[in-house]
Amino acid sequence: MGVIFLIRFENVTKIYKGENEVVALKNIDLTINDGEIFGIIGLSGAGKSTLVRCINLLETPDEGRVLVDGVDMMNLTRRELRQHRKSIGMIFQHFNLLSSRTVAENVAFPLELSGVPKRQRIKKVRDLLELVGLSDKARAYPSQLSGGQKQRVGIARALANDQKILLCDEATSALDPQTTMSILELLKKINRERGITVVIITHEMHVIKEICDRVAVIEDGRIIETGIVEDVLLNPTTETARTFLKTVIKSEVPPEVAARLKESNGGELLQVTFLGGSTGEPIINEVVKNFDVVVNILYGNIDQIHDITFGMLVLKLTGPQRKQAKAFLEEKGLKVKVIDDV
């Protein structure tokens, strides 16, 4: 048995009618697998919010089908749809907690909607608050919490009915970087421990890089690229993906460094990009040992996606065997670019 899909878009189109007709989604085909963390990235207005809302039919597609756990969502009666929505949790950019309820009462809310008896509710809420690390805030009101704490309440609430799917609508966009990291860690933990499928929409590449298994890039209502995060990040085929990539991976020499490089005379400037396996070998050391060259590292940048390391170095080579050294680097699978004019 292979991986089975959990959510599937088949030729989904959504058009907002009105004075100016807007095509929000155009012929979307997308499959999200059971148990994965799937990211959808796009600029604002690209249609990602609409796309995620088509999963629980907060937005109804004009064409195509949406299958969730084998069920065609658009064929359901209103009552059946409500029932299915209970198995899909959702968290939001602005948290959307009920301000009139305490933290515990907010988490209990979906359980109340499902008619779970009070005693069970209390136990469930206690467990969930422990899971998200807010046991001490049970009686606080949302207005007394920080943004990160509010999102933790949102997550606890979204898991109350033992949901199989968690939709995250720009869930970290209103949070500072540190809080974002802690929320992403929590999402990863929930995904791992509960096997819940997480769908994340965001405009921030680092969110994708941090926790997603697969990613789809959306632009003007179309999916323009999709695949495993490493592949899309390291070999982007579209300009939009490349633009997003630049926000997390600095593959260009910053202008201040470039200015300094121009002043340094003599030798040859090389920009060396490396990816994956080769980082384990002491390549620079070998270059110096095997060839009659002097290597000066002027600038460097190393990053990691999952367990793949990649990065870029700017080297200055001086000495007679520069050509051979360059060939050696290329032989080792590194991308070498001579930069006379940085």
Partner: protein
Amino acid sequence: MMFNNPMIWNALKTALLETLYMVGVSTFFAVLFGLPLGILLTITSPGHIKPNKLINTVLGAVVNLGRSIPFIILMVAIINFTRWLVGTSIGTTAAIVPLSISATPFFARVTEQSLREVDKGVIEAAEAMGATTLQIIFKVLLPEALSSLVLGVTITAVNLIGYSAMAGAIGGGGLGDLAIRYGYQRFRPDIMIITVIVLVILVQGVQTVGSFIANRLDHK
């Protein structure tokens, strides 16, 4: 001279109780009928949870009509209806009928305004959780707007205190009646002034209590 006249104090006490009775009962009916109207006006509006252009337009028109009739005219115009409903067209109980009818559309608009302030995102979250329309009304809209609704009830009650004084003009009793009969018609400015003072204290008191409760309910 008036301060040692027990008759005047008794008259004042009776008038105050009559005003409280009229205002209290008509506020109750205004909320009883205005709240559901306000809820309907809100949820049937475009983009809300049960958009329905027909119901929304008709209700809106009825409410506007009710609000555009001057109270003094409404009071006279519905005399027959009042007599049919409560058996008399004069007195305190009779005054409650036009007061309630006049305050109902007002409170419906106040309710609508309060409910519209409830964050759209919170309503969407409840929909995403599979809430029914009734659950959204009773577990989201009303609790989230409660503080604002209490202020709305307060405004309605204060308005009714003013209107009830007008009702006094047609034999409705209450403080307004006292002020006109004694203060105006019998040339007793001292009674007029003390009545106005009581009204001022009453309005202040209602507003203070209303604001206090609203503050306690507000967790935003």
